[in-house]
């Protein structure tokens, strides 16, 4: 069963190119709307770094952060009810039917990703838009990102895309 599942669900990847992020919060809002999350739950979060002094000038950047869907997720190991699960395609998600809101996963996660949704007392975290992916659709954060700072696809294709972007950068510089 597991092998068949693996065969049918190839792994995808979300590429985050922070150099293209403009801090517009489109991804964050799209995620909240898609999953009916309240303000306290930011399963995609834009971290603003700066402005910092760099010589006489200032510099500022934005870092979109979300669940890394770890290969060996500590949250899954720690969950006492089995609500936190990892799919065969790599997506780590929390099943709200089973979750008791104990937040053990939040403590276990080294990145502090799972947060408590106070509206329903369950854990909220990025579920990789698994329901959309099962329908062959992109996750909403990548789809609505205006600058293509978030790109989604098969890992081989995303890596190829990243290589081509860098090659283009080099070619243009020359």
């Amino acid at each position: 069963m597991t092998e068949m599942y693996t065969r049918n669900k190839p792994k995808n990847m979300l590429l985050v190119d922070a150099s293209l992020c403009i801090g517009c919060l489109s991804c964050q809002t799209a995620c909240q709307m898609e999953h009916d999350l309240p303000a306290c739950c930011r399963t995609v979060r834009i971290v603003q770094l700066g402005p910092f002094h760099q010589g006489e000038d200032l510099t500022m950047s934005f870092l979109p952060t979300t669940c890394f869907h770890c290969d060996r997720p500590a949250c899954v190991e720690a969950c006492p009810t089995g609500a936190m699960q990892k799919r065969s395609d790599g997506i780590v998600f929390s099943d709200p039917e089973i979750c008791i809101g104990c937040q053990t996963c939040a403590v276990a996660c080294p990145y502090g990703i799972p947060t408590l949704n106070r509206a329903n007392g369950k854990i909220a975290k990025c579920n990789g838009c698994k329901d959309r992916i099962d329908l062959g659709l992109w996750p909403v954060c990548a789809l609505k990102c205006p600058t293509e700072a978030l790109v989604f696809g098969r890992s081989t294709r995303v890596v190829q895309d990243k290589r081509q972007r860098e090659a283009l950068k080099l070619a243009r510089a020359l």
């Binding site: 403009i22 489109s26 964050q28 709307m33 243009r172």
Partner: protein, 656 residues
């Protein structure tokens, strides 16, 4: 040009739906296409429209989050009224009774204080139909005081000379983008993506602003300028270009008939003096001038607030003189200026409308230009002048709010009229790119709500002016299509364009632009554009800046607020510190005043004060504070809550 297309995007919704409506987002002026999915009359999902030429499937946070406004708890759904602000609201039976009551109270105000005691404040949320019907009603009533964020200084819209050249998607062809007093990365992120695409292709981005904005964080050259110095920067840039002889040999034949006096106006001042008003070092100014002039074509992108400062036409002058106008990726792109000059009261001859229109041009932008209004009809948050009038004891005797959501204004009004959201009505929309679009209704409005046109038609009927508002359907509701057809026929730049044309172009995935020339193409006549540019006169050097007055001594900090159209992107229901309504304050000033991030602070000027929480950040320079929700720029004093005003003033005087 080297080009590479990303992998295919797979779009759509995972939710069950009955129908999909392809329409236009009206949350800002970009005019993105969106696909709204409706199930059993309820909006269940919103995605970007991949076919739309402007947005190509992208949507910003406002375009996604508007859906929550349709069914949120703060929605105004009942007609209500009260005699005084001390009374509780009483629900009114229906629109007929409510409009009768409003008309009676307006008549009394008119008898006691005259027609010019009425002030109409139009919010962007109420839509263009509310604004245009309001200006028509105002002309009939006899008041020039109609305020709207759609307004330009000429109060009627943009002419071709101060409207954007080309589409934002053409920014990708620019070699340099010079962005002044605007933060499109925050306010128009979908348009700004084209600037980043250009940067990927080797273009340089130069950003000049008072604050260190999201847009500036992506700049190759960042220029921190003084308050209200945007147009001064334009003149100083022109001076630097002339001094460095960067104009090129054919500059005088680029469509401008330049008189000798124009050259003299720049010769008479040194570059050092020109740079002084901008707070920029001369070397930095020269660096910007060389970059802008050599990396051609350059696109000049300016913020709306510059339109209200002297010397605004300098940007058209630079673009034309340098030969960028008309080039793909070059020219001038003033943000939020894509609306043509449409006058909805020009046909009201004999009703002294011309006089009113002329007076409105000079007065409507300034709250100081007229007596305190005794009656106000507004469609959003009231501006500062109202707070001032409260302080001076001249509060209006009647405030009627026609709005969607409860706001602070609702607490200060006498009558509430529930309005339709833009997603609940068919409407006309002008995007930044001079595109004319027809926005389709997504869901049916709540029964108790009406459109802006319905509101004004109902009120006009009570004054016997129904013949001037003839756009009526059989069921007595407003015929928006007939109104828009009539409105577009009022100006030569839109004449011939009809709702039918707009609907068809939308189905075909084509944008209709103004000036409209249906016989030649749907894209607008390029010949008309060129003619329009030839008619402009060059802006003379203008380097004067206001000297500090006595009030500056008492209010040493400068409060900057966003343009009312260009609000920052939002995150749904923000409650936490990092994105809320926080006062941005420089760390050095904050430290001296004992203010830390999250502390409650008081921001006060001579008339008003507000209490907000602080966000200590280097985004603002020492002399500036920034508030995302204010209504106008002004000088203020900031102090920590509990700290005395004189103490804070003494500290600030030593620092600034």
């Amino acid at each position: 040009m080297l080009d590479y297309h990303l992998m295919q995007r797979f779009t759509g919704t995972r939710r069950d739906y009955d129908r999909m409506v392809a329409t236009i987002c009206q949350e800002c002026t970009v005019g993105c296409g969106l696909c709204a999915y409706v199930s059993e009359g309820r909006l269940v999902d919103v995605q970007g429209d991949e076919r739309h030429p402007i947005s190509k499937g992208r949507l910003c946070s406002r375009g996604t989050a508007f859906a929550r406004d349709l069914a949120c708890a703060e929605r105004i759904t009942r007609l209500a009224g009260r005699k005084s602000l001390l009374d509780d609201f009483e629900e009114l039976d229906g629109w007929e009774q409510a409009l009768d009551l409003l008309a009676d109270r307006l008549k009394k105000v008119r008898e006691q204080h005259g027609p010019k005691s009425l002030f109409i404040d139009c919010d962007t949320g109420a839509g263009l139909d509310f604004y245009y019907a309001a200006t028509r009603f105002a002309a009939l009533w006899g008041t020039p005081y109609v305020s709207s964020p759609f307004d330009d200084p000429n109060n009627s819209g943009s002419t071709i000379s101060n409207a954007p050249d080309g589409d934002c998607s053409a920014w990708i062809h620019s070699r340099c983008l010079f962005i002044v007093a605007a933060d499109p990365a925050s306010t128009h992120p979908v348009a700004f993506r084209w600037a980043l695409e250009a940067q990927k292709n080797g273009a340089k981005i130069v950003v000049a602003d008072t604050r260190f904005t999201n847009t500036m964080s992506k700049a190759d050259l960042a220029l921190r300028i003084g308050s209200d110095a945007g147009n001064l920067l334009g003149a100083a840039l022109m001076k630097a270009i002339l001094d460095e002889q960067l104009c090129g040999p054919n500059s005088t034949s680029n469509g401008l008939d330049i008189p000798e006096s124009w050259w003299n106006s720049f010769d008479e001042i040194s570059l050092e003096s020109a740079a002084k008003g901008t707070d920029l070092p001369v070397a930095r100014l020269k660096e910007a001038a060389i970059l802008v002039a050599k990396k051609r074509p350059t696109k000049l992108i300016t913020g709306k607030r510059l339109a209200h400062l002297p010397g605004y036409e300098i940007w058209r002058t630079i673009a034309t003189l340098m030969g960028w106008t008309g080039q793909q990726g070059g020219g001038w792109y003033p943000l939020d200026s894509g609306r043509p000059t449409l006058c909805s009261s020009a046909d009201l001859q004999g009703e002294n409308s011309q006089e009113i229109a002329e007076k409105a041009q000079s007065d409507s932008r300034s709250a100081d230009g007229f007596d305190t209004p005794r009656a106000v009809i507004c469609s959003g948050g009231l501006s500062d002048f109202h707070s001032g009038s409260k302080q001076s004891g001249k509060a209006p005797v009647l405030i009627a709010l026609f709005g969607c959501l409860c706001s602070e204004t609702a607490d200060h009004c006498h009558m509430l009229f529930p309005a339709q959201n833009w997603a609940e009505r068919e409407s006309l929309f002008f995007s930044n790119d001079r595109a004319i679009q027809w926005s389709r209704k997504i869901v049916e409005p709540p029964d108790s709500t009406r459109s802006g046109l319905d509101f004004w038609m109902g009120l006009a009927k009570r004054f016997g002016w129904q013949d001037h508002f003839p756009w009526k359907l059989d069921d007595d509701n407003a015929d928006h299509e007939a109104f828009v057809d009539w409105l577009l026929a009022q100006d030569t730049s839109t004449k011939g364009c009809t709702v039918e044309v707009l609907k068809k172009s939308s189905e075909d995935g084509i944008l209709v632009h103004w000036p409209f020339d249906g016989n030649q193409s749907l894209q607008g006549s390029s010949a008309a554009l060129v003619r329009g540019y030839e008619e402009i006169t060059p802006e003379f050097a203008c380097f004067s800046h206001q000297p500090a007055d006595e009030a500056d001594e008492l209010y040493p900090l400068y409060l900057e607020v966003p343009d009312s159209i260009s609000k920052k992107a939002i995150c749904v229901g923000n409650e936490t510190l990092d994105n809320g309504n926080l006062l941005q304050i420089n760390p050095e000033i904050a430290r001296a005043l004992g203010i830390d991030t999250g502390d409650e602070v008081v921001v006060q000027d001579s008339e008003t004060f507000v209490e907000v929480r602080a966000w200590v950040t280097r985004m603002v320079p020492r002399w500036l504070v920034y508030l995302p929700s204010g209504s106008r720029n002004k000088r203020v004093l900031v102090r920590k809550k509990g700290q005395s005003g004189p103490d804070a003033l003494n500290i600030l005087r030593k620092l600034l």
